[in-house]
Amino acid sequence: MTFIFNMAYSNLIKSNQGLRFTWFIKFLALSVFSILIVINTAVAEPYLAVKNYLKCAACHVNPNGGGLRTEFGKIYGQNLLPAKANSYDSAKLARLTQYLSIGADARFNANFQKTEEIEDNTSKSFEVSSAQLYININIPNSGLSFYLDQQMAPGSAINREAIVMYEFEQGDFIKAGKLFLPFGLRIEDDTAFIRQATGMNFDNSDNGVEYGLNHDNTTVNFYVANGTSQSSNNDDSFLYGIRAEHLFSTFRVGGGAVLNDGEQQVKILNLYGGTQWRDITFLAEVDYLILEAANSFNQQDIKQLAALAEINYQWKQGWNLKLTTEYFDPDQDVDEDEQTRYSLIGEYTPLSNVQLRLGARIKQDIPQKSQNNYETVFFQSHFYF
């Protein structure tokens, strides 16, 4: 936290903006308030959480990370993430009233992809990758809030999260509604193996109930959701899960277990962690999946393994280099069917609320699946608020 204060303060000095004493006092008070929240609650760009020894709830209204940012999250995104900070108070701007705050994320991509198919093997496109609008209604002094995460584009509006949350005085919380289930590292890339294989991604929210238990640096989440039939539970079976995470002084470790009951039962075990050393942040996650009787040939279970390791190197404010390597074994009883994926992404945040990303990605599958062997180069502009 000292790091954040130093960065924030030095940034304000450097930019020579907003140096009025009263503003700084407000900022200081807000930061202290945010820290108090952090202590008792959970982060979204996970490497930022690991780098700053914070839980997800420090920067996000949703204690499990992702979506609308807290006032602290907005200040961080405005002042500490970019190379040059704007002078306006984004937290104040986003808070329409003391009860209502808003936020947004919009990603616009330019893509070039090349597969190993013999014909028709390249594609180039511009796309609105996603545009999200967040609204949080907070009833003061009641612990009660209503949170809405609505995808506005591309296509017609799709609700991603609609949650009623009650936060107890000691920091525990209970959520009900359509929600992202707490599982592993909540990385932004939904196409990562660990997010695809497990189905725990930003494209796949579920209807259910979650209880979050917060004790000092430990968070434990229990949840029940519809599972494989998310929109309506027509199989009388549910998905049960638990996630636990502890922040140590220089690193964090977390784990989880999921039982997705149903006609075909699925069990998932998950272990993840992160640590930070100087300007380098390291993240890793391993998921082990057991798909009951999923082999249609011999009715045996299929056991899968998905793993991710990521290095982030922030050598200068506003700049980050991200290297990700992934591994997926779709059936541990079958040899030579493994898949890998490597990404190298440069992230530059020149100004508050705008991030530019240039990345290259290589996906390798078995030679027979020519469409699944491809290289991608993309440029993304990310507006966040």
Binding site: Q113, D120, N121, S123, E127, P154, G155, S156, I158, D189, Q196, A197, T198, G199, M200, N201, D203, N204, N226, T228, Q230, S231, V266, I268, R278, D279, I280, F282, L289, L291, N295, S296, F297, Q304, I311, W315, L323, T325, P330, D331, V334, D335, E336, D337, E338, Q339, T340, Y342, K363, Q364, D365, I366, P367, Q368, K369, Q371, N372, N373, Y374, T376
Partner: protein, 303 residues
């Protein structure tokens, strides 16, 4: 921190992380399964053929299993839509309402009204283009899916799924209503003119045997404007009914001489006391959608 040292550290860690390689695919088929496994026993596509065909078995083999099922399959299929096997694809696609409730995931006979087709072509009404984060499907695959849908989204004849009516539409008036398990009612806004035939088209999910179907075996019951009285209904004379077999899974029925005072018409197929409809392999039509072969298929048209 010395930047040079940082780069060395990052480089070293990077090398360590990229040590894993993808499988070489030895002894695996083009779905990544051992070649001695025969997972699907129904209408297997020609293994020697690399090109995709407009059949569900071929689309499953070339698109759904190798590409879509990485998300729409496994532990927690995206959107609850499991496409990992042919059976699952049938259950999760055909006539299932999509996340945009204006569309079915697959509406037999109409690719432009099918969310699946909109998704793979990047139509703005359907959100993110699929496959998500992967190269778009090539034209050959897209056209095969389009043709499969427009041909009626027929499922393999030998599949264990029931033979059903997958869609009914009324020609001439351009009024279409999708099949709904609970309610087969269709609303027509205006009165049919005398002598103009009412043309109803039935789409079936499997190839059927229509060879022995006669107009007498189809029950057209008309109700007058006060259909609460049981006596105010009558069967149409079979001489006013004509059957036109479009192909092995599309049947067109025409009825002429519909009087002005008719408030609605009920059409019944597969009434066991009169006749039964079967697939070309002898499976009886599941007319009442109860998952058991047999049962009357009943469809109402209100004027």
């Amino acid at each position: 921190m010395n930047i040079f040292n940082s780069f060395i550290t990052v480089g070293f860690l990077s090398l360590a992380l990229t040590a894993c390689n993808a499988g070489n695919g030895d002894s695996l088929n083009d779905q990544g399964r051992p070649i001695d496994e025969i997972g699907e026993v129904m209408d297997l596509p020609d293994p020697d053929s690399d090109s995709i065909k407009p059949t569900l078995a071929s689309i499953q083999d070339k698109v759904f299993t190798p590409i879509c099922a990485s998300c729409h399959g496994g532990a927690n299929p995206a959107a609850g839509q499991d496409l990992s096997s042919l059976e699952n694809s049938i259950i999760n696609l055909i006539n299932v309402t999509s996340s945009n409730t204006l569309f079915k995931r697959v509406l037999p006979g109409s690719a432009e009204e099918s969310y699946l087709y909109l998704k793979i072509t990047g139509d703005s009404r359907a959100g993110s283009r699929m496959p998500l984060g992967q190269p778009a499907l090539n034209q050959e695959k897209i056209l095969a899916i389009k043709k499969w849908i427009e041909d009626g989204a027929v499922i393999p004849e030998s599949s264990s799924n029931s033979a059903r009516v997958s869609r009914v539409n009324i020609k001439e008036r351009r009024i279409t209503r999708e099949i709904n398990d609970q309610n087969f009612a269709s609303n027509v806004d205006y009165i049919w003119r005398l002598n103009e035939p009412l043309v109803v088209v039935f789409w079936f999910n499997k190839p059927m045997s229509f060879d022995y179907l006669t107009p007498e075996q189809v029950l057209f019951t008309a109700y007058d404007s006060n259909d609460s009285k049981e006596n105010d209904n009558w069967l149409f004379d079979s001489s006013n009914i004509s059957i036109n077999i479009i192909n092995d899974h599309i049947l067109q029925l025409s009825i002429s001489e519909v009087a002005r005072d008719v408030s609605h018409i009920n059409i019944q197929l597969n009434k066991s006391s009169i006749s039964t409809l079967t697939t070309s392999l002898g499976q009886q039509l599941d007319g009442d959608f109860d998952g058991v072969d047999g049962g009357v298929f009943s469809y109402d048209i209100h004027f």
